[in-house]
Amino acid sequence: MKETQAYIERIKRVNRGYQRLELAVDKSLASMLAGQAMLVRAIDKDYDVEHWDPYLRELWFPVETLASNIVVVERPARRHYTPGQLLSIIGPIGKAFRFRQKLRNILLIAHNTTPSALLLTLPPLLAKGVGITLVLTGSARRYETNHLPEEVEVIQAEDDLTWSDMVMTLGWADQVFVLGGPGNELTYFGDIMGLMRERHHDIPANYLFGVIKRDLPCGVGACGACSLNVGGGQKRQCIDGPAFDLTELRLN
């Protein structure tokens, strides 16, 4: 991890709610893997902070990496960005998702948040022929998915957090990654654990992961704001996460 400078090379509106920014980044960020993120803030040409609002750096998850040190991020369309804008980036933050070696089908669930933190999984897994189902629940249902690859099956869940063919998609998946919006994600993870236990008497290790996307003040494990109780000890989202095996994560 290090602090580097980048700039916005291109901006492309992908739907009514979101735009994609192509960032020209340092080569240390060009090979980020699914799960890893960056802490970003706008800076001026003297590399000083341009303004203090937002105050903390924002957590940006790449959704795609392109050639020539370009990473693509998805940002709300209401936020204003300009090509050439300089950025200060701390990263990569966190660890890559640990996929099973013989992964054939994966279930991705986004609850009350945009699924952008999960989207970098799509290109490499589709290239390997892995079947991908993306379930959107809560406010995540407002996320438009027309720009996602056709091979990804997208399901809109009901208000009670269930969806059609739920039994089949849960049983079909070799691994499940559940992304929870900040605030109540541990409660939602508990609900998902309950659903899973109805199907599996024991949830195996390395099967069901909770992905946490809270604001990170420091990103280096110093401030303790992202500490979680995991397996009898404390772990940090920014260093050990963002994905935690839900059989180990303490949810209360």
């Binding site: 902070v49 003040p217 280096v220 109780n229």
Partner: protein
């Protein structure tokens, strides 16, 4: 340059530059090693350490404010004994003194802490964090107990109680006062709709604490150094605190927003104080001056054979 930031005496703390991170911002050890050059700082102030392990706060811990942040971490830490055993080697390799920020709620806890700390040479000083709403009597008792340790003792005062605690705490045996902890506030978490209480950080805190530092500096004995903390986000902010009578400063969440700013403030303040002491012109040094610029600014040496009047 050497700056004594504690009261002169048997145990005192001398730093190369009067800038350090505030407790709770840079961790217990060298977590920021990839982003900061510790050699440029005056000291490391650790995250708050309690006698027994504390778990992280449940629920929302960080709320973004307009040009600031509210933080409620619950001070997660593995307890004093574990912190010492885990970080002792890291501290030994740090190029700067380590100030342990201790949170204790009773005299008996202070005594237990001193038993563990006194023999740890890697801890150069202790900063005692006094909790909000603490009574004067209780605060004085804690400071008196802690001042028996064989290390310099700093006491960080709570923001709202700083005015009434400063003088009694100064007289109770501290070697320096830290003014102050970040003020507490309450904000609504937009994700959950709940109100969350925590400490408030941001540039707007600085004018408030700057005034407090200026006032208290005049009220407490001159031999008690004051270390200012609160809202420092630029070298000028730090200089303002020095002008108000502080001997040193602690930089808090600016480090989260822009890690290199801590280093830059340290370079600026160190150079500013050094040049000020030597009556140098103010524009002769700046923290961003590179070696080339420094050389260019020097007057040309007389060429061989030239004559001067």
């Amino acid at each position: 340059m050497a700056i004594e930031i504690t009261r002169p005496g048997k145990y005192s703390l001398i730093l190369s530059t009067p800038v350090m991170p505030a407790a709770g911002t840079v961790g217990f050890g060298d977590d920021y090693r990839a982003l900061l050059d510790y050699d440029k700082l005056g000291a490391l102030v650790t995250n708050p350490v309690t006698i027994d392990p504390w778990r992280p706060a449940s629920g929302t811990r960080i709320i973004a404010l307009d040009a600031g942040v509210l933080a409620h971490t619950g001070l997660p830490n593995p307890g004093l004994a574990n912190v010492i055993s885990q970080y002792r080697r890291v501290w030994a390799n740090m190029p700067i003194p380590v100030i342990l920020h201790l949170v204790a709620t009773s005299v008996s806890q202070i005594k237990r802490a001193l038993d563990m700390i006194d023999d740890v040479d890697e801890i150069a000083a202790v900063e005692l964090g006094l909790r909000d709403d603490i009574s004067e009597r209780e605060a004085v008792a804690l400071v008196e107990a802690a001042s028996r340790m064989e290390k310099p003792l700093l006491a960080r005062l709570p923001f709202y109680e700083a005015s009434q605690l400063a003088l009694p705490i100064a007289e109770a045996g501290v070697d320096a006062l830290v003014l102050t902890a970040a003020p507490r506030g309450t904000a609504r978490d937009e994700h959950t709709g709940r109100l969350v209480s925590g400490r408030v950080y941001g540039p707007l805190i600085k004018p408030i604490i700057l005034r407090l530092v200026g006032r208290l500096r005049r009220e407490i004995p001159a031999d008690i150094p004051v270390i200012a903390a609160g809202g420092i986000h630029s070298p000028q902010d730090a200089r303002d605190y020095i002008d108000a009578g502080a001997i040193a400063v602690q930089v808090d969440t600016a480090t989260w927003a822009q890690p290199k700013m801590l280093e830059r403030i340290a370079r600026d303040l160190g150079g500013w104080i050094a040049t000020r002491q030597k009556d140098a012109l103010s524009d002769e040094w700046n923290p961003d001056m590179g070696h080339t610029e420094a050389i260019e600014r020097r007057p040309d040496p007389p060429s061989p054979g030239s004559k001067t009047k």
